[in-house]
């Protein structure tokens, strides 16, 4: 289980900067076990093909498959959740003295994956949640704080993350920092996740004023417009972002996210255009 603050293990946040606590739960042991089993499963599939093709009889297949199955290792899957969704089974705690206690901050669920009530953490599924703490919240503490995430799993099993450290500063970001494109984009992304479209738009417009060819800002603008239902504007912004990517990027691979969004938006707009 991992707990990160603004994508870091340790971070410093100014008074006017949002804090995003992200928690992810992975099942490494299951991944190792599944990777051990994968070639055995492939071998059993090949046997099934031989059986279907008449190259072996049922008895031979059963014996060979059973021999292979005995080599497989069992995979323990963890479950978390219940009515209301699995993210309610995650608590964020802070350390006061030597005691850990649940924080009483208003934490906003920004995103979570998978979107199910009960999540299974197996070899391939990672459970991930982002919780936001608004910059202007009156409960915002000051000074250094250690925090961690605690998850209550099925069967009353509890797991804890390692500790993350946050240094809450009383002062705001210096003016020069505040006007940086990446800072404005980060604030815009936070506002969008909180559903504050106007605020998000204000930040992204400031970012684009600072750097009109900013790919992250153009991408964010597209997402804001899409969220507001302005599909044409969203499409234009995604297309501009894509063009800028082609001009600026030296990456081998195309920006598949932009391409997918453009394709889907065009498909949605076609009836309107017609």
């Amino acid at each position: 289980m991992y707990c990160r603050v603004n994508d870091e293990e340790n971070c410093t946040v100014h008074r006017d900067t949002p804090l995003i606590i992200s928690v992810s739960m992975v099942n490494d042991v299951a991944a190792t076990a599944a990777s051990h089993n994968a070639p055995i499963e492939d071998e059993i599939r090949r046997l099934e093909e031989r059986l279907e093709a008449g190259h072996m009889n049922q008895e031979e297949f059963d014996a060979a498959a059973e021999r292979l199955r005995r080599e497989m290792v069992s995979i323990k899957v963890y479950r978390i959740g219940g009515p209301g969704g699995w993210l309610h089974f995650i608590k964020i705690q802070s350390l006061t003295g030597e005691e850990w206690g649940d924080v009483d901050w208003p934490l906003w669920p920004l995103t979570h994956h998978p979107e199910v009530e009960v999540a299974e953490i197996d070899a391939s599924t990672t459970c991930y949640v982002e919780l936001g703490f608004d910059p202007d919240d009156r409960k915002r503490p000051e000074g250094e704080l250690q925090i961690r995430a605690v998850a209550k799993l099925f069967g009353d099993e509890t797991i804890e993350s390692e500790t993350a450290r946050v240094n809450f500063l009383a002062e705001g970001l210096p003016k020069a920092e505040r006007e940086k494109e990446e800072v404005l984009v980060a604030k815009g992304e936070y506002a969008l996740k909180r559903g504050l479209h106007d605020e998000a738009l204000r930040h992204v417009q400031a970012a684009l004023k600072a750097k009109p060819s900013s790919i992250p800002a153009l991408g964010l603008l597209a997402e804001i417009e899409e969220s507001r239902g302005n599909l044409k504007e969203a499409l234009t912004a995604f297309e501009t972002a894509f063009d800028e990517f082609r001009k600026q990027s030296k990456m081998r691979d195309p920006p598949r996210y932009f391409i997918k969004k453009i394709r889907l938006l065009r498909a949605r707009l076609e009836p309107e255009q017609a």
């Binding site: 490494d28 991944a31 990777s35 995103t111 992250p216 920006p255 598949r256 394709r263």
Partner: protein, 485 residues
């Protein structure tokens, strides 16, 4: 002759008179067959006895003598296994030494301290599981004459090896015996190997990595099977010596398989490995960068020299460096993920596998998108390419941009390396008579969940045998390679 003889010079003759009595011999017990080296303060007892030769056989006890135990040809591997402790904390102290702090060795004097540095790790898997010590003695002698002595050898490496012998004044050496067994017959060296290693490849005979006595520097892992590319970059001895890996919030030591290809991953941000386990590589996770000699400082090229190496403490029977993979969450503009480095290629040219978790878990994304993207990008880090390359110019057919056959959307639609939900709603192939034939690609599509093992088109890429969109590259499983040398 002069007739006059010179007086002869008196010659000094030394006659040694042996004390009458039986011939004496000293033997030693063998290493238990099932013993494997363990760096966490593992201790082994070895018993030497003095015998008298009577009636054609060795009879215990013989006359008391001071017994000396000597450890020789002892391994001095860096660290205690291939990836612990970190480079700047590892030493080359002998991996086997006499436990001078052990109560069972109170009646010994010690000699030949071969300590390189006094920085042995005291915590390997659990706190203080390798208690602090200042000496690594290779010689121990009983303070008084005895007919039996027990020496305690301490182990401090998961791949430790060495030879132990016992001697005593005026004693022949008797071939070693099994614990609880009778002394051997006749005379002969009593030295024994630690651990039991009759085939002399420095790997315990009982360990699966011994492979019937194959050379310690063999590397023949053949699962998953890839034509002509056996091996995972870790030799039999290295797989035997093992690694410290993540286990829950703690760590454990593992020895890896010499049959299955092992890949080590540093999952910095808890992304998980998605569908990558379908590659057939056995995945192991390390808890911190220290366990692979640190993150590369370069941003977009192969890792710097000496970084991201899983066998950085290698010594005996190594063939070369083997790289691990770094997996990180990163905001990559417009992309779900990217494999940074000089690849696609081997882990040794992979700087990091970056995944844009935010985009992969967006509200419109398929539930499997994150798992598929992770597997796709990690595929690039183990030498797997796309099913085909993108065209240099659009292939316009029937007024629409289509994907020409054999390109990025071709092949098995369940494979993570194929581009799904891409730019095209149709794929097109040109028939023998020169006419174009278009076929729809569904929208939306489910992301792939596995690695394909053939080029053959499936799903929308298999309309019929005459209308099949086979991959140009494809057969992704057969391209997987990780060996760095």
């Amino acid at each position: 002759m002069s007739g006059e003889e010179k007086p002869s010079t008196p010659k000094k003759v030394v006659i040694q008179v042996n004390r009458p009595g039986p011939k004496l011999g000293v033997d030693l017990t063998k290493t238990p067959k099932n013993w494997l080296p363990d760096a966490r303060n593992a201790r082994l007892e070895f018993r030497a006895r003095i015998y008298a030769y009577q009636g054609g056989k060795w009879v215990y006890p013989g006359e008391p003598r001071k017994i000396t135990f000597i450890l020789k040809e002892v391994s001095k591997e860096k660290g205690i296994c291939l990836n612990f402790p970190s480079k700047n904390k590892s030493n080359e102290n002998p991996d086997l030494f006499f436990a001078n702090d052990d109560d069972r060795m109170k009646e010994f004097t010690f000699d030949e301290d071969k300590t390189d540095k006094k920085n042995c790790p005291t915590t390997i898997v659990a706190r203080n599981d390798n208690p602090s010590h200042n000496y690594h003695y290779l010689k121990a002698t009983t303070k008084t004459a005895v007919t039996e002595a027990v020496a305690v050898v301490r182990c401090e490496d998961y791949g430790a090896f060495g030879v132990l012998e016992a001697s005593a004044p005026e004693c022949e050496t008797i071939p070693p015996r099994e614990v609880g067994g009778q002394p051997g017959e006749g005379v002969g060296p009593n030295d024994i190997k630690i651990p039991r290693d009759d085939n002399d490849n420095k790997i315990a005979d009982i360990a699966p990595q011994d492979d019937g006595g194959a050379a310690g520097d063999s590397d023949g892992d053949d699962e998953p099977e890839i034509d002509g590319y056996d091996g995972d970059g870790l030799t039999n001895y290295e797989e035997y010596r093992g690694f410290i890996v993540k286990r829950g919030r703690g760590v454990e030591h593992i020895r890896t398989s010499i049959k299955k290809k092992d890949l080590f991953i540093y999952d910095k941000d808890g992304l998980g490995t998605g569908f990558f386990h379908k590659s057939g590589l056995v995945l192991h996770f390390i808890p911190k960068p220290d366990y692979y000699a640190g993150d590369s400082s370069k941003k977009d090229a192969s890792p710097d020299a000496g970084k991201q190496i899983i066998n950085f403490n290698a010594g005996n029977a190594t063939k070369g460096e083997q790289h691990a993979l770094r997996l990180v969450n990163e905001r990559i503009r417009g992309c779900y993920g990217y494999c940074y480095g000089d690849g696609p290629g081997l882990p040794k040219v992979t700087n990091r596998v970056a995944i844009n978790k935010k985009l992969c878990t967006g509200k419109d994304e398929h539930a499997d998108q994150l798992s598929a993207v992770i597997a796709h990008e990690m595929g690039h880090a183990v030498n797997v390419f796309h099913h085909g390359e993108e065209p240099n110019s659009d292939h316009v057919c029937g007024g629409k941009v289509t994907d020409e056959g054999g390109r990025v959307t071709s092949g098995d639609v369940t494979c993570v390396m194929r581009y799904d939900n891409y730019n095209y709603t149709q794929w097109c192939h040109v028939k023998d008579d020169g006419t174009h034939c278009r076929h729809p690609i569904p929208s939306p599509e489910n992301p792939g969940t596995t690695f394909c093992d053939s080029k053959r088109g499936t799903g929308c890429n298999l309309v019929s045998n005459a209308h099949r969109n086979d991959a140009t590259v494809g057969a992704c499983k057969t391209h997987i390679r990780i060996k760095g040398w």
